[in-house]
């Protein structure tokens, strides 16, 4: 019994309309909250309880969701500048940019945010939903007045590139389906529909395509699981959450060739026996989400989506679902939880998504790059795909070379290239005055390596040899970067992005961050290398999910390859 003396518990019309707009069920929650946030700048208690009532959910649940995602807040922030603190932006002194912006912020709040995936425009800033960069301190006033900087231009291949997923992007108009069709869009789909699903899966299996999100799981095998599951309906989820620091390849793929992605999802759907797909895209990629929505509409108009696609019996729909700022939602079960309208906390596994996924149904979760590779493979066959690389892993990969090189950015190349080739070949060599010291390879949860790893061919097995490929990114640091400070920045990221559910990650990442702050000379917190190692062991051994487990990779590799720097850090703190 509540002694609630208010007469009526009626829900506001605005919330009811938003509920209807977004599907009127529990899964609508995040999008309703995002809309309310955008309109009103904050999620008050009234909005929370009103939304809870409208969706027939507990207020505690809605509150839990509203406090989980970085882009939602209880404190008013109507217009917001989010300044990236990712490794590249950090190296480009984004903290100074932030200070400058704070001075030019009438009507805006300024916040620090995790890697925005705009590493090729560092230092990067998100102005509400608009991507801006590079924004240096002197650009503060301009950006406040609407200037957004320039995007990187990938129309011309670098020498040595093998463009497959990025083929034709110089000429492709990403917002035109006619343009896409001119360059072969949906031919793979046509071919697919004339075969049995089993044949498509066999093709993908033979091609040896491995997941491009970082884990490298064989795609054909995953689809085989889902195809073999008896229960229907089945779903395809495209993981466009791309929040791993240093990674922005999926953004480029969506921006340059959205129909290639849609086609890949369609083929996956057909092969797996699925009827519907969602692209879960990070909330910070609003322009990309909008682009995909436009592409979907055009594809529907041309009958590439919807019912009886290309005159076949195949029905399929693709929806866009935006995240709201949570790196952990890139973990496939956390992604599913978020899609279901909950906090993005990973699930207990097993069961895995192919047997129990979205809505408890068989689900294939694949990365954007993975799915974008599917149409070329279907069009050209597995032999062709294998032929692109003369290393053990077939096909091409999108790589990102960043930091102190002459030509940083994105490129496409086969597997088996080395870090040296990345720096000196594709990256144009170190900047003048910069001597190579450290590379962070794979992403934030990647290996911190020194010159000893420069000549190891990179692929999904190279982690065993001390350098991981991860999602394909390489941050090249020179003598001016302290390995202790770099690791500190990474631990800042992990501790702010930890979902908090399990003890090792929730407390371990926070403590590791404190130790590194102390070692880097920041605030006098004490800690030892031995403790760092112990935390790393614990994270690897007992974390609930891959996020916690993978934090041990940069810590262990840094301690191995730059041990002395950390010992000095420990001594400095002690003295």
């Amino acid at each position: 019994m509540t002694k609630n003396l208010a007469a009526h518990n009626s829900v506001s019309a605005e919330i009811l309309e938003l509920a209807v707009k977004h599907g009127n069920n529990h899964e609508s929650l995040l999008e309703i909250l995002t809309d309310l946030q955008r309109t009103h700048g904050a999620l008050s208690e009234e909005f929370i309880t009103g939304t809870a009532q409208a969706l027939d959910m507990a207020s505690s649940h809605v509150y839990g969701v509203s406090t989980f995602y970085s882009m939602l807040s209880q404190v008013e922030r109507k217009n917001i500048m989010r300044v990236c603190d990712g490794p590249v932006c950090w190296m480009n002194e984004s903290a100074k940019t932030r200070e400058a912006l704070e001075k030019n912020s009438t009507g805006w709040s300024v916040e620090r945010t995790s890697c925005l995936g705009l590493c090729d425009r560092a230092p990067a800033v998100l102005m509400n939903d608009e991507q801006a960069g590079p924004v240096f301190p002197e650009d503060g006033k301009k950006v406040h007045q609407g200037w957004r900087g320039t995007s990187a231009d990938y129309s011309s291949p670098r020498s040595g590139e093998t463009r497959v997923l990025l083929a034709n992007i110089a000429n492709l108009d990403p917002d035109s389906i006619e343009s896409a069709l001119k360059y072969g869009a949906y031919e793979g789909l046509r071919k697919t529909l004339s075969q049995k699903p089993e044949a498509v899966i066999e093709l993908i299996e033979k091609s040896g395509l491995q997941g491009r999100g970082g884990a490298g799981f064989p795609v054909g095998r995953k689809w085989q699981f889902v195809a073999g599951a008896k229960r229907t309906p089945k779903y395809i989820l495209c993981n466009a959450d791309e929040s791993e620091p240093l990674i922005f390849k999926d953004r480029v793929l969506i921006d340059s060739n959205p129909h290639q992605l849609l086609e890949g999802i369609l083929i996956a759907g057909y092969a797996c026996g699925a009827s519907e797909a969602w692209i879960y895209i990070r909330g910070e990629y609003e322009p990309q989400a909008a682009r995909l929505e436009r592409a979907i509409e055009l594809a529907q108009q041309k009958s590439f989506l919807g019912e009886r696609i290309l005159g076949s019996e195949f029905n399929f729909n693709i929806h866009i679902h935006r995240g709201a700022g949570a790196y952990i939602c890139g973990e496939e079960t956390a992604l599913i939880e978020s899609l279901e309208g909950k906090r993005g906390e990973p699930r207990i596994r097993p069961p895995y998504p192919p047997s129990y996924g979205f809505r408890g149904q068989p689900t294939a979760v694949n990365n954007v790059e993975t799915l974008s590779a599917v149409p070329p493979i279907v069009r050209n066959g597995e032999e062709w795909w294998r032929s692109l690389s003369n290393y053990t892993t077939p096909g091409t990969k999108l790589y990102m070379v960043l930091g102190r090189v002459k030509t940083p950015g994105l490129f496409e190349a086969p597997f088996g290239i080395t870090l040296r080739q990345v720096i000196e070949g594709f990256g144009g060599g170190m900047l003048d005055g910069s001597k190579f010291q450290i590379a962070l390879s794979g992403g934030a949860a990647g290996t911190i390596v020194n010159e000893n790893q420069l000549d190891i061919p990179l692929d999904y097995g190279s982690a065993q040899k001390g350098i991981s490929i991860g999602a394909g990114s390489f941050l090249i640091c020179d003598q001016s970067v302290s390995p202790v400070a770099l690791l500190r920045e990474l631990l800042h990221f992990f501790s702010s992005e930890s979902c908090g559910k399990c003890t090792p990650c929730r407390v371990g990442t926070w403590r590791a961050f404190e130790i590194l702050k102390g070692m880097a000379g920041n605030d006098g917190k004490t800690g030892t290398v031995a403790e760092l190692r112990s935390i790393s062991d614990q994270l690897l051994a007992s974390s609930f999910c891959g996020l916690g487990q993978s934090v041990s990779i940069p810590i262990n590799s840094a301690l191995k390859n730059f041990g002395e720097a950390f010992v000095r850090g420990e001594e400095r703190v002690r003295s």
């Binding site: 007469a7 207020s59 930890s498 051994a541 609930f544």
Partner: protein
């Protein structure tokens, strides 16, 4: 399929799919846990239960990992130990280990594990407190998030046991915390203060405010006594915690048969009345009695000021002598039937048995009754008529597990039988059971209902007949069941077929569509159980209402099967027992009829009376035939007849045990007038209640914590009540008092009773002996003994033999009377409908936080803090018309009186209806209610009174 796996070198072969944790525990291999609890879905977040699995580089949480064929598991390898130590160190890092001052030190699971793994709070731990200790102002639950280890058990308990979802997880990462509702205080977030979260919390993060600092967890300094709750008929069990001779609190006992760890706010936090300073410590008598004056000669006009009416504390001998003497002379001069006995639905079975024996053997009257008259008398009469037995046919756990559909009519289950209410919530939320709620109010349970039928009060027969009309029209009745197990169907059918949907809709106000929806649900989901309480029984047509529910269940074939049945929820903790033990004017214990010659003979022989004759004993005959005392063969008076009959000089003396008619009977003004005029009122109770004002002798009895015996809950389950503390002051266990009184009366004229008869005397040493006597004379209780209950036997009557396992479900093969009887019943309008002068309808009842007349709960500190005065529910549109807004006070008047109370403006009540309770004497609804009785059961129509409502200007 047989699986084989190895844990710590021990090979385990099994066909059951289970987690590593379950497998280990079954084989006595210990794996520590924190966030895991067998009652809750496993979360796997604390990581204490990690184990090493050969071939896997990551440790696996045993609570969520299935043990599969070929697995090799190590529960205490070096890697595992190291990981557990690290996890504990992490937990202690932001958990200031103020163990020395912490309330749960000694009962804290983190402290236990920190000791086992020898982990200290790390030097780098968070310094100071991150949160305000005691951060929530609610009166019951103390919240100290500094001690929270984020195991999430509270969230799970609130979601999965209570299904209230108050607690949630907020924020992310290191900032993560538990929070209530939309980040508000607990009560704002609709917390029901059940305390389940406290019970499941492994640390001191959530603890009890009532006993904070009293050493609840100091195991070596406390005693825990498992007993049965004395509030409602669910019959929860819990542990009373005693330290230094005082009860300092209540804790959950996971082995409790009905409720497990769950309790409600009253059971968990409403115990402090036991040691309240108002407790009667010594007997009291009015001065005039000590002076030897006659009551008639005292001017009672100003009774409060008259020195003759002064209360004088005295010793037991004096009080009992006067009481016994007065009762005996009244019996001998005015006849046995001039005495009325009210026994207590709150007292033990053994005590109720003694009151029945006192009335019949010692006094010689069948004028014994109790408050069942006011609540389920119509149930007992109605079901006895339809089935031959007036009790709840199924059991609560059976319904929770097996009902495909719950039809709850006239029961505000989540507020009145809270723990059973949560069982219904769980069945609906997690098992997909369906729920129809029929209630004029939008009660809390409606939140879970598939259909809410909002019938007008007093139209239940029309509603039920309307449903049965549709069932018959569609041919969906259970023809086989009707043919094989019932009689009088055709007559009944003819009557029902008059109740067309349109006619029913006009009478009840229920849209025709809802009738069809209800019938669809009822016929497609079997077995369906019908559950009811006061909304059905407290009407002038209460008996007919009940028979119509019996009709419905026979029609649908839902009787005698698991998940089905007729399930009246008895209110008091032992109202079932009081009825079972013959606290009724028409039956002996076990519902053996007083009018049955053979039965009377049996009791007469047992109690040392002569074989009875059928002639009525007049007063003069009594004197002449004093050597042949008989058991009376006429049905006695009910309480609703006894009290008014005082004004006709029929009842001249009352002996009342643990009842408070001034608060609970209808038309308080009239009740007071009657009690003022009774010659003698002996009241045996624990507090000087509102009724005590009219008493002549007060005998101090004890609470449930100060005596041992049994209660019988609503599902006929008999459970032990165990003494935890010594009687307060000079109070005595009630059974002792009754026996002392009885012995005095008998010894004044010992020739009346054959002292050699087996059960003639009253020198009981303990309630165990009383139970043996009950066993011998009551077939349905024959096999229920203290010994069996102490051994752990779970017994529901009928239990006719010492090795009989008890009876969870009644009427399985046949009804108690043989065939079930269909009864044709018609809609009859209520006794007092609104008119121009009194245009609104008053319904009455209880609230979650208080109990009945309030004499107990108004003396419970925390309950008074959360609900300290009466609130009257009024619909917002009505409130608007009256100019009432929020904090306004209302004056409510009926033909019999008026009260003032604060308004609670809510849409729980429909327009035209207000709802008041009877917990506070100054605003008691019974000042307004009228003495309109069901002609058969004599139960008052509390659910309908015509009133007028005004706003009182501030």
């Amino acid at each position: 399929m047989i699986m084989e796996f190895i844990i710590d070198g021990k090979t385990i072969k099994t066909t059951t799919t289970q987690t590593i944790l379950d497998a280990a525990r079954q084989h006595d291999i210990d794996i520590p846990t924190l966030c895991y609890h067998k009652d809750l879905s496993p979360s796997g977040n604390c990581r204490m239960c990690v184990v090493e699995v050969k071939g896997n580089r990551f440790l696996q949480a045993a609570c969520v990992t299935q043990a599969t064929d070929g697995m090799e598991i190590f529960t205490h390898s070096d890697k595992v130990i190291q990981s557990r130590k690290q996890s504990l160190e992490f937990m202690l890092a932001n958990h200031p280990a103020f163990c020395s001052t912490c309330d749960v030190s000694g009962e804290c699971e983190v402290q236990d594990l920190a000791y086992d793994y020898q982990v200290e709070p790390p030097v780098w731990g968070f310094k100071g407190t991150r949160y305000l200790p005691d951060s929530d102002p609610n009166p019951f639950i103390r919240v100290d998030l500094n001690k929270c280890i984020l195991c999430r058990r509270c969230v799970a308990a609130c979601a999965e046991i209570q299904v209230r979802n108050v607690w949630g997880i907020a924020q992310r990462g290191f900032a993560e915390e538990i929070s209530a509702g939309a980040g508000t205080q607990l009560l704002e977030a609709r917390c029901e203060s059940c305390g389940q979260c406290v019970a499941y919390c492994p640390t001191g993060a959530l603890s009890n405010k009532l006993n904070y600092g009293m050493g609840m967890a100091r195991a070596h300094q406390i005693r825990k006594i498992t007993t049965t709750c004395a509030y409602c008929g669910v019959g929860c069990q819990f542990d009373l915690v005693v330290r230094r001779g005082k009860i300092i609190g209540v804790t959950s006992n996971p082995d409790a048969p009905v409720n497990g760890m769950a309790l409600c706010v009253k059971g968990r936090y409403g115990y402090d009345y036991i040691q309240h300073p108002d407790r009667l410590m010594k007997p009291r008598v009015r001065r005039y009695l000590l002076d030897g004056d006659a009551k008639q000669e005292i001017n009672l006009k100003d009774r409060k000021k008259n020195p003759k009416m002064e209360w004088v504390e005295t010793d037991w001998d004096t009080a009992l002598d006067i009481a016994a003497d007065k009762l005996r002379t009244t019996r001998d001069t005015k006849g046995a039937d001039s005495i009325g006995i009210l026994t207590s639905a709150k007292c033990l079975n053994e005590e109720n048995y003694l009151m029945n024996k006192f009335a019949r053997q010692v006094i010689g009257t069948n004028n014994i009754d109790h408050c069942a008259r006011l609540c389920h008398a119509s149930t007992v009469a109605g079901l006895a008529s339809s089935f031959g037995s007036g009790a709840m046919s199924n059991s609560m756990d059976d319904l929770a597990r097996n009902s495909a559909l719950f039809f709850v009519i006239g029961s505000n289950t989540t507020e009145q039988h809270p723990v059973f209410g949560t069982m219904i919530r769980r069945a609906v939320r997690f098992r997909g059971a369906k729920l129809i709620v029929a209630d004029p109010r939008k009660i809390d349970l409606v939140e879970f209902a598939n259909l809410h039928i909002q019938q007008k009060p007093g139209t239940d027969i029309a509603l039920l007949n309307g449903l049965m009309y549709l069932i018959l029209e569609k041919g969906l009745e259970d023809k086989k069941f009707i043919k094989q197990r019932t009689e009088d169907f055709e007559d009944f059918k003819q009557g029902v077929m008059q109740y067309t949907p349109e006619k029913v809709s006009a009478i009840t106000g229920v849209p025709v569509e809802h009738l069809y929806q209800a019938v669809e649900l009822l016929t497609e989901h079997k077995p369906a159980s019908v559950i009811w309480a006061m909304g059905i029984t407290q009407h002038v047509v209460g008996v007919n209402n009940v028979m119509d529910l019996a009709n419905l269940q026979m029609l649908l074939g839902n009787m005698g099967v698991p998940g089905g049945g007729v399930n009246p929820l008895r209110g008091q903790n032992n109202v079932q027992g009081a009825c079972d033990m013959g606290g009724l004017p028409n039956v002996f214990p076990g519902y053996q009829a007083v009018q049955d010659d053979t039965i009377r003979e049996k009791f007469a022989t047992a109690w040392g009376l002569e074989k009875s004759s059928t002639t009525r004993m007049e007063a003069k005959d009594f004197v002449l035939q004093r050597f042949s005392v008989h058991l009376p063969d006429e049905i006695g008076m009910t309480v609703t007849e006894m009290i008014p009959s005082i004004l006709k000089d029929k009842i001249q003396a009352l002996y009342i045990l643990g009842e408070n008619p001034v608060m609970t009977d209808p038309d308080t003004t009239q009740v007071k007038k009657c009690l003022e005029n009774v010659d003698l009122l002996i009241l045996q109770d624990i507090f000087p209640t509102e009724t005590a004002e009219y008493a002549d002798i007060l005998l101090p009895g004890v609470s449930f914590a100060e005596k041992s015996g049994t209660f019988t809950n609503t599902e006929r389950r008999v459970q032990m009540v165990r003494q935890a503390i010594r009687p307060i002051g000079e109070a005595k266990p009630d059974w002792e008092i009754i026996a002392l009184l009885a012995m005095r009366i008998i010894n004044a004229a010992p020739e009346r009773i054959n002292a050699t008869a087996k059960y003639a005397n009253w020198n009981y040493e303990n309630t165990n002996q009383i139970m043996s006597e009950i066993n011998a004379l009551t077939p349905s209780y024959a096999g229920i003994t203290h010994e069996r209950l102490e051994k752990g036997d779970r017994l529901q009557w009928p239990c006719p033999a010492p090795d009989h396992p008890g009876t969870p479900i009644l009427h399985t093969k046949q009804f108690t009377r043989g065939l079930g009887r269909f009864a044709s019943v018609e809609h009859i309008p209520p006794a007092e409908l609104p008119n121009d002068e009194f245009p609104m309808l008053l319904s009455t009842g209880r609230v979650l936080y208080h109990w009945h007349g309030g004499e107990l709960t108004r003396r419970a500190k925390a309950l008074m803090k959360i609900y300290g005065e009466a609130l009257v529910e009024i619909n917002p549109l009505d409130a608007e018309k009256l100019g009432v807004n929020g904090n306004h006070r209302l004056r409510i008047a009926s033909r019999r009186g008026s009260i003032q109370a604060k308004a609670w403006v809510t849409d729980r009540v429909p327009q035209g209806m207000i709802y008041a309770n009877f917990h506070f004497p100054e605003s008691s609804a019974n000042i307004l209610t009228g003495h309109f009785l069901d002609p058969v059961a004599k139960i008052p129509e509390y659910k309908l009174t015509a009133v007028k409502v005004e706003s009182i200007p501030e």
